[in-house]
Amino acid sequence: MMNTEVATTPLSPAPGRAGAQSTRLGDTLFHLVCLAGALVVGVLLALVLWQLFKGSSLALKQFGWKFFTGTEWNPVTDQFGALPFIFGTLVSSGIALLIAVPLGIGTAIYLTDLAPVRLRQPMTSLIEMLAAVPSVVWGLWGLFVLMPLLRASIYPCLQKGLGFLPLFQGPIYGIGLLTSGIILAIMILPIVTSVSREVLRSVPNLQREAAYALGATRWEVTRIAVLSYARRGLFGAAVLGLGRAIGETMAVTMVIGNTPFIGWSLFHPAGTLASGIANEFTEATTDIYQSSLFELGLVLLGVTILVNIVAQAMVRAFTTDETRRVA
């Protein structure tokens, strides 16, 4: 009796205590590791911002607000204005969105609601494979395959048919705003499609069934029950695509023509914030030149953040609209 008592008393609580302690310790460790991971993101962003501000301080001081409205980019006279690059970035990304969003959402609807079941998986994989093609390969393909095709057949047709619009006037170089917009559209298509597909898949089947029960046609079901339900998510898909398009560098550099430009013609060569930095940074010899390139980086970050804020505001506006209607 004594023996067993002595044996059990110290032993049974001991592992218990040790166990509890180690779990508590493990939990704390786990908590700390995760916290560190989360903090790293914030710290990195802060460091990037700090570095960009530090690097661009000279340009900020010298040009002030004129940097954002200046249209001249002249390394010889050290006059730097970012407006042509902001213009090029927004227009090329805008063209990309105009093409990729309808195409991506259309593909997603087909894949979730219309395609035969055995086709869905292979097609999805195919689209995701597009995302695996490196940027520089898209650039090469754009320059050597797509651009000659567009210049020889599609752009002349556009000019003939829609030439009364200032958008399609002017000499056709082949490379330029429209070509880079098309390349960007192809590059952001996978992300727009796969996010849209996930969003549409999360629409409850009850929605569809209810619409069918009311005698809706397939198009009506898609429009009323699926698309309006998933509107917020689809908008998110477009914003994700836009974010990628704005920051894309390599492929754009190869097909946009890299000339600071502001104007109506979509055939004209232009430049973007990202391509400007990539092109000019290595040989920026004067301090103010380098500082201005740093400020381009700051502007790029600012444009991205601004676009995201606007997009979130629009999503919120959409949702309140919807809730009101439902109520």
Binding site: N3, A7, T8, L11, P15, E72, W73, N74, P75, V76, T77, L143, F144, M147, P148, R151, P171, Y173, G174, I175, G176, T253, M254, G257, N258, T259, P260, P269, G271, S275, A278, N279, E280, T282, E283, A284, T285, Q290
Partner: protein, 359 residues
């Protein structure tokens, strides 16, 4: 008792095993790291590492020379980073490299920011070729006024009478000229705009010379390879590239009217000729565009190695000077393989003399 005793170690064992494993893993990693470090140190002690950074135009030359020089002097290891001329100058000024390399000489202001006197040693020279894409690839001739007119956007058609007058017998199409230039800052652009500034008043007042300029017209490609690609892809295009890119891409190159009034094509010989007839000051900050020689190609330029006259580490400085002396003499025999023009003998001797002033 027995049961209890038996269970305790069993439940403990994996833990201790893990601990032992972890400990030994950490220890061996640490050991490996320490070994790696000490090995590195040994290498560094045996060989002196000389660091250089700068122009990408010079990179192929340094790649070739550092291998060849390894046979001449086993105690030196040359490390060259092809980061661009601007970054090369920056690194030299902040003294993070032993020598810099630039396609444009340092300006007086830039020299003032350096902590010591910087010497310019010409190291390679090359031609900037004018290439174009026209049906049948005819041999074309340009003069300074026509070339400046095209790049200013004043001559816009291939069958412009000014181009036709220089190229009698060549059928020129009625197509627009697509002007292609470098989008990134580059020494090639510096040489090209230096030439246009020298020969055209309109160019020097409207645009000027630099490694990157505000182009009045045309499309930009990143790097010589993209300019070559754009010219190849666009019928009616004209562009300027380092000679090697035109040769490699089998693009036609134009003959240019030089200062003596003769039409000369780009080649290592015509560049060497330009260099031997150009006026070269003692500090070697010279421009050799539009050189007066009869057989001189007008759009040619040199690239320089930059180093401090007073070296911080005398022993290392001596090794650097020896390497550079070798580059400007022995090394020049190999440079035509890479389409560089060899430095003329007179320039070689002057460069060696200047190198001997390094302390």
């Amino acid at each position: 008792m027995e049961i209890v005793v038996a269970t305790t170690p069993v439940s403990d064992r994996p833990n201790t095993m893990n601990k032992i494993l972890t400990k030994s893993l950490v220890a061996s990693l640490g050991l490996a790291f320490a070994l790696g470090c000490s090995q590195k140190q040994e290498v560094a002690e045996a060989q002196t590492l000389i660091n250089g950074a700068g122009s990408s135009f010079d990179n192929p030359a340094f790649m070739m020379w550092k291998d060849a020089y390894a046979n001449a002097d086993k105690n030196v290891q040359i490390n060259y980073q092809s980061v661009g001329s601007g970054a090369g100058i920056k690194q030299l000024v902040s003294q993070t490299v032993d020598f810099g390399a630039s396609d444009a000489p340092m300006t007086d202001e830039a020299m003032k920011t350096a902590p010591g006197k910087v010497l310019h040693i010409p190291i390679v020279a090359g031609a900037v070729a004018i290439t174009y894409n026209l049906p049948g690839s005819p041999k074309l001739k340009f003069d300074d006024a026509v070339l400046a007119g095209i790049y200013l956007g004043e001559i816009t058609k291939w069958n412009d009478p000014k181009i036709a007058a220089l190229n009698e017998g060549v059928k020129l199409p009625d197509t627009s000229i697509i002007v292609v230039h470098r989008a990134d800052g580059s020494g090639t652009t510096f040489i090209f705009t230096d030439y246009l500034s020298v020969v055209s008043k309109a160019w020097s007042t409207k645009v000027g010379k630099s490694t990157a300029v505000n182009w009045p017209t045309g499309v930009g490609g990143k790097g010589s390879e993209q300019v070559a690609a754009q010219v190849k892809q666009n019928p009616g295009a004209i562009g300027y590239v380092e000679l090697a890119y035109a040769t490699q891409n089998k693009l036609p190159v134009a003959e240019l009217k030089n200062a003596a009034g003769k039409y000369v094509g780009p080649s290592p010989e015509s560049v060497s000729e330009a260099m031997s007839t150009a006026t070269i000051p003692d500090d070697f900050r010279f421009s050799m565009v539009n050189a007066p020689g009869e057989a001189a190609y007008p759009i040619a330029g040199a690239s320089w190695v930059l180093l401090y006259e007073k070296q911080a580490d005398a022993k290392k400085g001596k090794m650097l000077v020896n390497f550079l002396k070798w580059c400007v003499t022995e090394g020049q025999k190999r440079s035509p393989q890479l389409d560089y023009a060899p430095l003329p003998d007179s320039v070689q001797q002057r460069a060696v003399k200047l190198l001997e002033t390094v302390k």
